[in-house]
C-alpha cells in the first residue's frame, strides 16, 4: 500500500490508472469500478488522478469529480492509509459504539472525522454496515470487523500504529457470521447448483409459474415479480445495441437489514440461478449484481462462485448446452450510498453516474440499464424465483398468506437474546418473532428500517405481510430501557447523510428535521419546534422526488404519536393559559372568609403579554 499523501503524478500513478482504465476498456459507464480500483491502488482520488481518469474515459472532468464527490467511499481528500469507519446505526449505538470510538480516537490522538497529522489514519462514522447482529462493527479500508470490544479496539490501534498491512491482521477479526436462527423453505432448500435450471421448461412456462406463484418483490415495495418480468420481456430493446438486462439489487442499505449478506454468503448459487432464470425469461444475456460497498469483502468469494458456475456450464454460452441460452453475470460494487438501493438510482450508478433517482415514467422494465428493458430484483426475490422454478408454483403458494405467498427472511437485531436471520412464512405475527428471538420487555419494534414503521406493544399482534406490515427484512427491537426519541434522532441523522440532494424538500427538509431533533435533544425545544417538525414531515412526504424523502420523516412521525413522552420530557416551554380565570375561582371563598391576603390570590392569573420562545425569567433590562 502506498502512502495516502502521495499525490504527485509519478509514473507509478499513471501506470495504475492506465492499467485500470484498460482493464475496463476505457468505458465511461464503468466509472464506478474504475474509481474504486484506482483508489484501491493509489489511496485517494487527487485532482490530477481525476483529470487522468476523465481523459482516459473521455468524460468531462467535472462529471468524474461529481461522481467521486457523490459516494461516501470515494475520497477526493487524503483520508489516511487506514480509514476506520464505525457503523453508526442505532443498534451499534445500543451496543456502545460511541464509547469505543472515543477510546479509539483517544488512543490515536485523533478527533473523529479528522486525519492524523502523519496521514496514517482517519476515524469516522458511517451509515449502517449491515452487521447489526454482531456489532458494534467497523470497516477498516472497507473490510468489516465485527464485535468490537475495548480489547479489540486496543489491538486495532496497535496494528495501525505498527502499520501492519491489513492482510496480516488476525483472521478472526474479519469473521462475519451468518447467524441463521430459523430456516424455512428458502434457507433450508436442498437444491444443488443447476437443479433449478435443469427443471426449466419454456420461458413462457417459467413466467407463468412465477406469476402463478404470487411472488412479490422482497425489497419491500412488493411489486409482482411475474408481472415485472412480463413487462420487461415484452418491451423491445432499442438503439444500436438492443438488449435486455437482469439486475440484482444487493445494495442492502436499509438500517438494520443484513439478510441479503447472509443469502449471498450462504445461498449465492440460488441467487445467481434466480438471475439466470430471470435472464432466460426476459431474454437477457447479461446480469449485473449491484453489491453495496460495505460488502466489498464478498466480491472475491462471489466471483469464485461465478467461476465455478461458468466451469459447470451454468453460466456462459449455451447454458446447460441449450443453444441460444447465453447468460453471464458480473458484479458491480457500490461505494457507500443508501440511495442506490432505489432501483433507478442504482441504474444511474451502474452506468457510472451520480446515484440520483430517475424520473418515472419510463420505468426500468422498458428503459433501464443503458436505456434497455431491465428487470431489477432484490437478492431474496431472485433466490425465491429459483426455488419456484425448481419446485413449482403450487407448492410455493401453500406457504404464506393469500396475498403474500412464500416466506420472508428477516434480519433481527437490537434487544433480544438471539439476533440474526430468521425465515418465516408470511403472516407471522410480530409477537411470534419476538418470542422466537428471545426479546423481553419490548417497548417498540422498528420494522422495514429507518424508513419503515415503528410499532408499540399494542400492535405486536400485527403480521409481517404485504397486507399488513410490509418489510424488506429489517426488524430492530427496543426494550424498555431504550429512549425512542434517540432512535428517531439517529434515523433523522441517517437521512441527512443519505439524501442524494436532488430535490429541494429532501435536501433541505432532512437537515431541518435533524436540526429540530437536535434542538429538542439539547433541551431547547418547545411546542413551536414540534409544529415545525410536522410541517417538515408533511413537506417531505408530499413533495419529495423518491421514496427516501417521502419516508424520511416516518420514524419521527411514528414516535411523536406513539412515544410522545420521550419528546415531552425534553421540551422546556410549556405555554398554556388556564381555561378559566384562576383568581376568580377563589372569589366565593374570599367572600365568605373575608380574606384578601396574598395567599387568597393567584398572581399568575393575568400575564401582561405573550412570552416568546427563548424568553426567560430575569431577562428584564
Amino acid at each position: 500500500m502506498r502512502t495516502a499523501n502521495s499525490s504527485g503524478g509519478g509514473a507509478d500513478e499513471k501506470g495504475v490508472i492506465e492499467g485500470v482504465l484498460s482493464r475496463h476498456g476505457h468505458d465511461a459507464t464503468r466509472l464506478m469500478q474504475i474509481l474504486r480500483e484506482v483508489q484501491e491502488g493509489l489511496g485517494w482520488l487527487s485532482p490530477s488522478i481525476l483529470t487522468a481518469i476523465a481523459d482516459g474515459a473521455k468524460l468531462p472532468r467535472a462529471r468524474v469529480e461529481g461522481v467521486a464527490g457523490f459516494y461516501h467511499f470515494f475520497h477526493t481528500e487524503p483520508l489516511g492509509r487506514y480509514r476506520v469507519l464505525w457503523s453508526d446505526n442505532i443498534t451499534d449505538r445500543m451496543q456502545g459504539n460511541a464509547d469505543l470510538m472515543a477510546r479509539m480516537c483517544k488512543k490515536l490522538w485523533l478527533k473523529a472525522g479528522n486525519v492524523s497529522e502523519d496521514g496514517l489514519v482517519s476515524v469516522d462514522t458511517t451509515s449502517c454496515t449491515g452487521m447489526c447482529d454482531q456489532g458494534p462493527a467497523i470497516l477498516v479500508n472497507y473490510r468489516p470487523i465485527t464485535r468490537m470490544t475495548p480489547e479489540r479496539v486496543d489491538k486495532v490501534v496497535d496494528l495501525i500504529r505498527r502499520q501492519v498491512p491489513l492482510a496480516e491482521w488476525p483472521a478472526e477479526f474479519f469473521l462475519v457470521e451468518d447467524n441463521i436462527r430459523r430456516k424455512d423453505a428458502l434457507l433450508s432448500h436442498d437444491l444443488a447448483p443447476g437443479d433449478a435450471l435443469r427443471a426449466l421448461k419454456s420461458p413462457q412456462d417459467v413466467l407463468e409459474a412465477v406469476k402463478a406463484s404470487g411472488l412479490r418483490g422482497r425489497g419491500g415495495a412488493g411489486f409482482s415479480t411475474g408481472q415485472k418480468w412480463e413487462f420487461c420481456r415484452n418491451a423491445p430493446g432499442t438503439g444500436s445495441s438492443p438488449a435486455h438486462y437482469v439486475v440484482c439489487n444487493a445494495d442492502e442499505g436499509e438500517p438494520g437489514t443484513f439478510k441479503d449478506r447472509v443469502l449471498l454468503s450462504s445461498c449465492a448459487d440460488l441467487v445467481f440461478e434466480g438471475m439466470t432464470i430471470a435472464g432466460y425469461v426476459i431474454g437477457a444475456k447479461k446480469g449485473l449484481v449491484y453489491l453495496r460497498g460495505e460488502y466489498r469483502y464478498l466480491m472475491e468469494p462471489l466471483n469464485e462462485v461465478l467461476q465455478r458456475r461458468r466451469a459447470a456450464n451454468l453460466l456462459g454460452k449455451s447454458v446447460l448446452g441449450q443453444i441460444g441460452f447465453d447468460f453471464d453475470i458480473e458484479i458491480h460494487m457500490g461505494a457507500g450510498a443508501y440511495i442506490c438501493g432505489e432501483e433507478t438510482a442504482l441504474l444511474e450508478s451502474l452506468e457510472g453516474k451520480r446515484g440520483v433517482p430517475r424520473k418515472r415514467p419510463p420505468f426500468p422494465v422498458t428503459s433501464g440499464f443503458l436505456g434497455q428493458p431491465t428487470a431489477v430484483n432484490n437478492v431474496e426475490t431472485l433466490a425465491a424465483a429459483a426455488l419456484i422454478a425448481a419446485k413449482g408454483a403450487a407448492w410455493y403458494k401453500t406457504l404464506g398468506t393469500a396475498k403474500s405467498t412464500g416466506t420472508k427472511v428477516l434480519s433481527i437485531s437490537g434487544d433480544c437474546a438471539r439476533p440474526g436471520v430468521y425465515e418465516y412464512p408470511y403472516g407471522v405475527t410480530v409477537a411470534q418473532v419476538l418470542a422466537d428471538c428471545g426479546a423481553r420487555d419490548t417497548q417498540a419494534c422498528q420494522i422495514a428500517g429507518a424508513s419503515g414503521l415503528c410499532i408499540a406493544p399494542a400492535e405486536f399482534g400485527r403480521r409481517i405481510a404485504f397486507e399488513d406490515i410490509p418489510t424488506g427484512g429489517s426488524f430492530m427491537i427496543f426494550d424498555n430501557s431504550r429512549d425512542m426519541f434517540e432512535v428517531a434522532r439517529n434515523f433523522a441523522h441517517f437521512f441527512v447523510h443519505e439524501s442524494c440532494g436532488f430535490c429541494t424538500p429532501c435536501r433541505v427538509g432532512t437537515t431541518l428535521l435533524k436540526n429540530g431533533m437536535d434542538k429538542i435533544h439539547e433541551g431547547h425545544g418547545g411546542e413551536y419546534d414540534i409544529n415545525d417538525i410536522w410541517r417538515i414531515i408533511r413537506t417531505l412526504k408530499t413533495a419529495s422526488h423518491c421514496g427516501l424523502g417521502q419516508t424520511a420523516g416516518n420514524c419521527v412521525a411514528d414516535t411523536l404519536q406513539k412515544f410522545r413522552p420521550s419528546y415531552e420530557l425534553r421540551l422546556n416551554v410549556h405555554e398554556f393559559e388556564p381555561a378559566f380565570d384562576l383568581d376568580k375561582a377563589l372569589s366565593k371563598m374570599r367572600e365568605v372568609t373575608g380574606r384578601d391576603d396574598p395567599g387568597a390570590h393567584f398572581h399568575i392569573a393575568h400575564r401582561k403579554s405573550k412570552s416568546g420562545i427563548g424568553t426567560k425569567a430575569g431577562d428584564e433590562a
Partner: protein
C-alpha cells in the same frame, strides 16, 4: 376590555427600535409623510427613537423592530420587546434574515476583529471595556431568538408598504401587501 362598540377606542401603544440595522426602516417609516397625523390618532409611541423613551412600558401593544441580532445588548432589548409587546413585527431585511450585517457570517469574528484592530507594529488590541456589548459569533434574524408575529420585508420597506401594513393591522385585518409592496430589497 369594554365590550361596548360605541366606546372610544383606546390608542394602541407602539414601541420601536433598531438593533443591528441602519435606521433606514425608521427613516422609511417617516416616509408615510402627512399620514403620520392619521396614524397618531390611532397610536401613541412608547419606547422609540422618536420619543427617546428608554424602556418599554409593560403594556405595549405593538413592537416594531428593525435590524438583526448582532450583539448581547441586541438580545436584551429584543427580550424586553417580546416581554412587553403583544404583537412583535420584524421590519426590514436585516431583522428577517440578518441582512447586510449577517454577511460577516462567512468570516470568523475573531479574524475580523484581528484585522480591524491590528495596529502597525503594536499588535492587536481588541476593545474589552465591559460597557461595550460583546458581539455574537454570528448575526441572527429576530425570529431565531424570539417568536415574531409578523414580518415586513424590504430594504427598507417603502412608506406605502409600511402604511398598508399598519393600517391593516390597526384595523384588525391580517396584513397583506400584494404585488408592488412586497420587496426584499
Amino acid at each position: 376590555m369594554n365590550a361596548s362598540t360605541s366606546a372610544p377606542k383606546r390608542k394602541l401603544k407602539v414601541a420601536t427600535t433598531s438593533l443591528a440595522g441602519c435606521f433606514g426602516c425608521h427613516m422609511s417609516f417617516l416616509d408615510i409623510d402627512e399620514r403620520i397625523l392619521d396614524l397618531i390618532e390611532l397610536i401613541e409611541f412608547d419606547r422609540s427613537p422618536l420619543t427617546d423613551i428608554k424602556h418599554c412600558s409593560t403594556d405595549c401593544d405593538i413592537g416594531i423592530i428593525e435590524g438583526g441580532v448582532c450583539n448581547a445588548e441586541n438580545v436584551h432589548v429584543l427580550h424586553e420587546f417580546r416581554k412587553n409587546c403583544k404583537i412583535l413585527i420584524a421590519i426590514g431585511a436585516c431583522s428577517i434574515n440578518g441582512g447586510l450585517p449577517a454577511q460577516r457570517n462567512s468570516l470568523d469574528i475573531r479574524d475580523i476583529l484581528a484585522a480591524v484592530y491590528a495596529q502597525p507594529g503594536r499588535g492587536v488590541h481588541i476593545p474589552n471595556d465591559p460597557e461595550i456589548p460583546l458581539l455574537l459569533n454570528e448575526v441572527h434574524p429576530l425570529h431565531e431568538v424570539v417568536k415574531i408575529d409578523y414580518f415586513l420585508p424590504g430594504c427598507p420597506p417603502s412608506g406605502d408598504a409600511i402604511w398598508k401594513f399598519l393600517t391593516d393591522l390597526l384595523a384588525g385585518r391580517t396584513p397583506s401587501l400584494g404585488h408592488g409592496l412586497i420587496h426584499f430589497d
